[in-house]
């Protein structure tokens, strides 16, 4: 049995005539920080959705924490999302009628049991203790994303999936979010970040580049050379 927390084996995803992913294979070790890069339409988000049990592959297998996802029912996949995965979205996706604290508690509610003190502590860790009672519309983009991060981490997921986590943030907030991810990584958290930003990708230990739905390169962070050249000039 593999020691990896995630094995993607020869996965393809086909939407009619469009092949979003073609024979993608990759593995992620526990505690590893992986960045998935690639231009728009390269299949990054499709891969993340498949790994996050939000979508299923047309071909191939995904093994998450020892479980073959293709063998699981819809209910079991829902349970995996609840128990093992933390999701961070580029558009934050906070619930508009709940305040920051309640948005974090929603994840607890569906996972197990709500604990206001713990949710407040999670908000404090992302620097938002004083904004706990604010509705999303009363928060800046950076603050909303930090609420999203706190919500993703509240149930201590085995795998954190972040889709363009800094795509809508300014430099300061980008730094704050990356610091939080570094903190999680230091504590042994496994992180997969989907990004088109070389700056964000450089924080990862390993970078997989997708092009036209295929793995174009898979390199250690230090060996990663930005195909656009942006990282070399930074």
């Amino acid at each position: 049995m593999s020691d990896n927390i995630l094995d993607v084996i020869d996965v393809s995803k086909i939407y009619g005539p469009v092949k979003a992913l073609q024979n993608v294979s990759l593995s992620v070790r526990p505690g590893e920080w992986l960045a998935i890069m690639g231009p728009s339409g390269s299949g990054k988000t499709t891969l993340m959705n498949i790994v996050g049990c939000l979508d299923s592959p047309s071909l191939g297998r995904v093994i998450l924490d020892g479980l073959g996802l293709d063998q699981l029912t819809a209910g079991e996949l829902t349970a995996i999302r609840r128990e093992a995965i933390g999701l961070i979205f580029q558009q934050f996706h906070l619930i508009g009628y709940l305040n920051a604290l309640e948005n974090v508690m929603v994840a607890q509610y569906y996972h197990s049991l709500v604990d206001e003190a713990e949710a407040l502590e999670a908000l404090a860790k992302v620097g938002l203790a004083d904004r706990a009672k604010h509705l999303p519309r009363q928060l800046s983009g950076g603050e909303q994303q930090r609420v999203c991060v706190a919500r993703a981490l509240i149930n201590h997921p085995k795998l954190l999936l972040a889709d363009e986590p800094t795509g809508n943030l300014d430099e300061t907030n980008e730094g704050l979010v990356m610091d939080i991810l570094h903190g999680l990584h230091r504590q042994g958290g496994t992180i997969i970040v989907v990004t088109h930003s070389p700056e964000v990708a450089q924080h990862a230990e390993r970078v997989v580049v997708l092009e036209h739905g295929r793995v174009a390169s898979d390199s250690r962070g230090a060996d990663f050379s930005d195909p656009s050249g942006a990282s070399q000039t930074a």
């Binding site: 988000t45 959705n49 996050g52 939000l54 979508d55 209910g75 829902t78 349970a79 999302r81 609840r82 128990e83 999701l87 979205f89 558009q91 996706h93 619930i95 508009g96 009628y97 709940l98 309640e102 508690m105 929603v106 994840a107 509610y109 569906y110 996972h111 049991l113 709500v114 604990d115 509705l135 919500r151």
Partner: protein, 386 residues
């Protein structure tokens, strides 16, 4: 024990989410709430009227005259005072509008034959409110009413003197003078009669305590049926036959039946429209909140949790709309009762929980299809903006 406490916290949080989703999104709440409230208003209003219409129409029908006639079951037999007392005792006091005795005698006046009727004028006014009197009702011994046909033929009118002649029970000739107090129009055969008080009639004929028939006016709302009451009279007063005035009772039953069905039909239409309104609003809510539903499912919400939240919102809307509609419905029923029947009505308290329950059930039922759509939301698709 800790488990129970934390589960209670979870239930409280679930309820809080439902409440906030309604109250922090007021505009959508108001649209749906207005629909449910209007539905509940019309529902309670119509059901209240349904309860009240028989009472109100019963009063109206009583103005068309008696609906039961008491006679002796032998041809030519007369009812005794004991028969009338037993019959009166057998009838429910709450349903008895009036019981009027009538005694008919052949008399002559100015050489012409007439039918004189001895009766109780106070009772007549209760059982035959359709009688129209020009002049005054007789109020003292020696006063009489003449039918409009008699008045036309003889020129008798209020203040005229009238002499009635005949033979008493011992075949002794009598002659008695009366003062005409008024002229009565009934639109029927009664317009050809002369009316005196029962006491005057008994004095003329020398025979007391016997009448030919009694007309009875009874309401049928909220009590025994006419058939049951007729049976009760015949049991309590043997030898007395209680006949129903078919013309009046059938009309009453027919109108009541049709009106009740009309109210039921309107209620059904209103409930259907309420369901359509709520269902459309809930469908709009689901479409508006597809991302939220997708997010919740992405966070691990099971379909039944999502369904429970939406049905909870529907239930809350139904209860709230039912309560508001109940208050408005009482006002609606009062306005209708006042403008149609010219009388107020007393609200039926037990209809409020029924209205709230029906309103909640209709709202939940109307939410089922939208909820089905909600649980079918694919999180990956909606989160990427499809």
């Amino acid at each position: 024990m800790a488990g129970k406490g934390t589960r209670a916290r979870n239930r409280a949080f679930g309820l809080k989410m439902v409440l906030w989703s309604l109250f922090r999104r007021r505009s959508r709440l108001l649209v749906a709430l207005t629909g449910v409230t209007i539905g509940a208003t019309v529902l309670l209003g119509l059901i209240t009227l349904c309860y009240d219409i028989p009472k109100q129409l019963g009063r109206e029908f009583r103005s068309y005259g008696a609906n039961m006639v008491l006679v002796k079951d032998q041809v030519g037999g007369r009812l005794s005072a004991g028969d009338l007392a037993a019959a009166r005792a057998a009838l429910p006091a709450a349903q008895l509008v009036g019981l009027t005795p009538f005694r008919y005698e052949a008399v002559r006046s100015h050489m012409l034959p007439y039918t004189a009727v001895g009766t109780g004028f106070e009772d007549v006014r209760r059982t035959s409110p359709f009688w129209r009197v020009e002049g005054l009702w007789p109020g003292a011994p020696g006063e009489a009413l003449v039918g409009v046909d008699v008045s036309t033929a003889t020129g008798l009118g209020p203040g005229s003197l009238l002499t009635l002649e005949g033979r008493d029970s011992r075949q002794v000739r009598y002659e008695k003078n009366f003062t005409v107090s008024g002229v009565v129009s009934t639109g029927s055969v009664e317009d050809g009669f002369i009316y005196v008080s029962l006491a005057d009639m008994e004095a003329m004929t020398g025979e007391s305590g016997l009448v030919d028939l009694a007309e009875v006016s009874l309401t049928t709302s909220g009590g025994q049926s006419l058939e049951e009451m007729a049976g009760a009279v015949q049991t309590a007063a043997p030898g007395v036959e209680a006949r129903l005035v078919v013309r009046v009772t059938r009309s009453e039953e027919t109108v009541m039946g049709k009106l009740t069905w009309l109210v039921y039909l309107v209620t059904l239409v209103v409930l259907t429209l309420t369901m359509i309104c709520v269902s459309t609003t809930m469908m709009t809510v689901v479409i508006e909140r597809r991302k939220e539903i997708g997010l919740k499912k992405a966070l691990g919400a099971e379909s039944r949790s999502v369904a429970r939240e939406f049905l909870g919102e529907g239930l809350l809307l139904g209860v709230l709309g039912g309560l508001l509609g109940s208050a408005a419905g009482v006002g609606f029923a009062r306005i209708v009762s006042h403008s149609v029947f010219g009388r107020g009505l007393s609200p039926e308290g037990h209809l409020v929980p029924v209205t709230v329950a029906v309103s909640a059930a209709v709202t939940v039922l109307a939410s089922l299809w939208p909820v089905r759509r909600a649980v079918d939301v694919e999180p990956a698709a909606v989160l990427r903006g499809e």
